[in-house]
């Protein structure tokens, strides 16, 4: 990494050095060792491990449930952020603070609590069961857990942008005869979109890797409700370290690409915004 432009501020070398040192020590070296461990598998064996039917089924579940969860969060997160920024109502500060709960609550506790609520004899489950809706121990349960843990991301990324959003622009649009929906679609949403995408992708990435809260509520049925992290654990239980790390590597590359995509798209949209 090279300095592109000279700055008179001190401390670039030490801070960047320390940052890279710390990341290497805690993250990169251990990850490299995991990659090396995977390399003990031959290429065909690796492919066979990461494309076994159960593993494929788990990608499908993990990806679709995470995607749907992130979409749900994207939709409701937008509404919640809007409500919290634009409207005034009693208890607003409390609700605002509650948004962070999934960050602060340990995942296993969240899993136990959600399972006990959504099981057939739980507070919510007992009303859903007569309607034929089963949540706990189905794919729907996985979706509930993944929605729970990803919720703060979208709200927290949109909120500051929404607060900064120029109200005059909206008012101008309204006075020029645009209706509320048009204003929203043409003015507000495009401005919010980059940060919405960040929130969405963070929620998505976080959900793919989630383990603690899901295993309690999912039921862990092969081919139906097994998530990918559970398969890593399953492989470990059979002392198949190389197999476990092979799946882990696939997941890791997936999350890395996702995150890189977010960071680049944010940079790109900011550049476009400042160029305009």
């Amino acid at each position: 990494m090279i300095i592109k432009q000279r700055s008179i501020l001190p401390g670039f070398g030490p801070t960047l050095g320390y940052t890279i040192f710390y990341i290497s020590l805690i993250l990169l070296i251990p990850l490299a060792i995991m990659f090396l461990k995977t390399a003990t598998l031959s290429w065909p064996r690796f492919l066979q491990t990461v494309t076994a039917p159960r593993v494929l089924a788990s990608y499908r579940l993990s990806l679709t449930a995470s995607f749907l969860g992130a979409l749900l969060n994207g939709f409701f997160g937008m509404i919640v952020a809007w409500v919290l920024v634009r409207y005034r109502f009693p208890g607003k500060r409390l609700f605002d603070a509650l948004v962070d709960l999934p960050f602060a609550m340990p995942t296993a506790v969240a899993g136990l609590a959600l399972t006990s609520i959504y099981a057939g004899n739980g507070w919510i489950g007992r009303f859903l069961e007569p309607l034929g809706i089963k949540v706990a121990f189905t794919q729907l349960g996985v979706l509930v857990a993944l929605t729970f843990i990803g919720f703060p991301f979208v709200v927290r990324t949109i909120q500051p942008v929404l607060q900064d959003l120029d109200k005059e622009l909206e008012e101008a649009a309204l006075s020029l005869g645009a209706n509320h929906w048009q204003t929203y679609r043409k003015i507000i949403f495009p401005t919010l979109f980059p940060s919405w995408l960040t929130g969405f992708a963070l929620a998505f990435a976080r959900a793919i890797g989630e383990y603690g809260s899901v295993v309690f509520i999912s039921g862990n049925m092969p081919l139906r409700t097994e998530i990918t992290p559970l398969l890593i654990v399953t492989k470990l239980e059979q002392f198949d370290y190389a197999g476990a790390t092979a799946i882990a590597v696939v997941m890791l590359i997936l999350s890395f690409i996702l995150l890189l995509f977010i960071n680049l798209s944010q940079w790109w949209s900011r550049k476009r915004y400042s160029a305009a």
Binding site: S116, A119, N220, M221, T234, L236, F239
Partner: protein
């Protein structure tokens, strides 16, 4: 800035070193670590107290026994990866074999070092049903009937679940006209009735008892008794099938670790104490079937008579594991056709 970073690094290393000495914290007395599986929590909390008393009387030494519980496979893996267990008391011989194969911490012949295949107590697989047995479940065949909801953990992650699976398989083999084909079909139809595969035996019990899911829970006999006693005598009943498997949870010292800690003598004494009348009595009180005839007779009323077969029916654990539970094995096939 450099000095600050250097200082922080030194601090980091120092704090790690300090914590190491803290965690070893060996004062005058002896510390043993027993790494065990989930259902033995109550057994070993009783047994450890008894052994500490016995050892103090014998040698005037104070012994503290630390316990670690978890899924049998998880625990074996922790020992393989360096959890310094002086003794392991796991759910099945396959997991202790793994400690020999993957880490060489114990000799290959570990199982012949103590009597009865190194299994001081045994158990078997029984059914837990709801009070009054509304579905009239009497034997293994009732579990395969359409409409019966069966709860059992995932054999891939739970040792107990493997005993459950093999017990059902063996029942069909032993039946008149039974063969491997029929056994596979039979076990498949049981698993078709399973809506939830928890990762461990205790998870399944919770699903059955707390969540109210299922008509029948396949469980260790000792777990079934414990669940009935802890969670409601008026809510559940234990049904013993006509034929079941003799589950032999084995024990072993971990040679490399006890030699390093200098605890071989006490670790061996600890395991041998399990075979004494006192140890057997504690096992029986915790609903494990004792090996000693005298103790077994005393607790005869507690355990229903049942025809038992052993793991040798499957050619030992290595073969059973390979055929049934490895990736692509029979258990995987059962779910793939579904």
């Amino acid at each position: 800035m450099k000095k600050v970073i250097l200082g922080l690094l030194v601090l980091l290393l120092l704090s790690f070193a300090l914590m190491n000495t803290l965690s070893i914290a060996a004062s005058g007395n002896v510390v043993l670590l027993n790494v065990s599986y989930d259902p033995t929590r109550e057994l070993y909390s009783d047994f450890n107290a008894a052994f500490a008393k016995y050892w103090h009387q014998k040698t005037a030494q104070t012994v503290t026994i630390q316990q670690s519980h978890g899924g049998s496979g998880t625990q074996a893996r922790a020992v393989i990866d360096g959890l310094e267990a002086d003794v392991v008391t796991l759910a099945l011989a396959y997991d202790i074999d793994a400690i020999y194969e993957n880490a060489g911490l114990i000799p290959k012949n570990w199982q012949s070092r103590l009597p009865y295949n190194s299994s001081p107590y045994t158990s078997t697989i029984v059914f837990l049903v709801r009070k009054g047995n509304p579905k009239e479940i009497k034997d293994w065949e009732d579990l395969a009937k359409p409409g019966t909801v069966v709860i059992t953990p995932n054999p891939k992650t739970s040792g107990g679940a493997r005993w459950n699976y093999l017990a059902a398989w063996g029942y069909m083999l032993k039946k008149a006209g039974g063969n491997q084909e029929k056994a596979k079909e039979f076990v498949s139809s049981i698993y078709r009735n399973v809506p939830v595969l928890d990762s461990g035996a205790r998870g399944s019990t919770t699903t059955f008892v707390q969540r109210g899911i299922g008509d029948v829970l396949i469980a260790w006999e000792n777990e079934a008794y414990l669940a009935v006693n802890e969670l409601g005598k008026d809510k559940f009943e234990i049904i013993t099938p006509s034929v079941s498997i003799l589950a032999e949870p084995p024990v072993s010292i971990v040679d490399k670790v006890v030699d390093k800690h200098g605890t071989r003598a006490i670790a061996e004494a600890y395991l041998k104490y399990l075979y004494t009348p006192e140890g057997q009595q504690i096992a029986a009180k915790n609903y494990y079937r004792p090996r000693l005839k005298a103790v077994a007779r005393k607790y005869a009323n507690q355990f229903t008579k049942v025809k038992l077969f052993t793991i040798d029916e499957f050619g030992g654990w290595q073969k059973a594991q390979q055929k049934h539970f490895s990736d692509g094995g029979v258990f995987d096939q059962i779910f793939q056709v579904k």
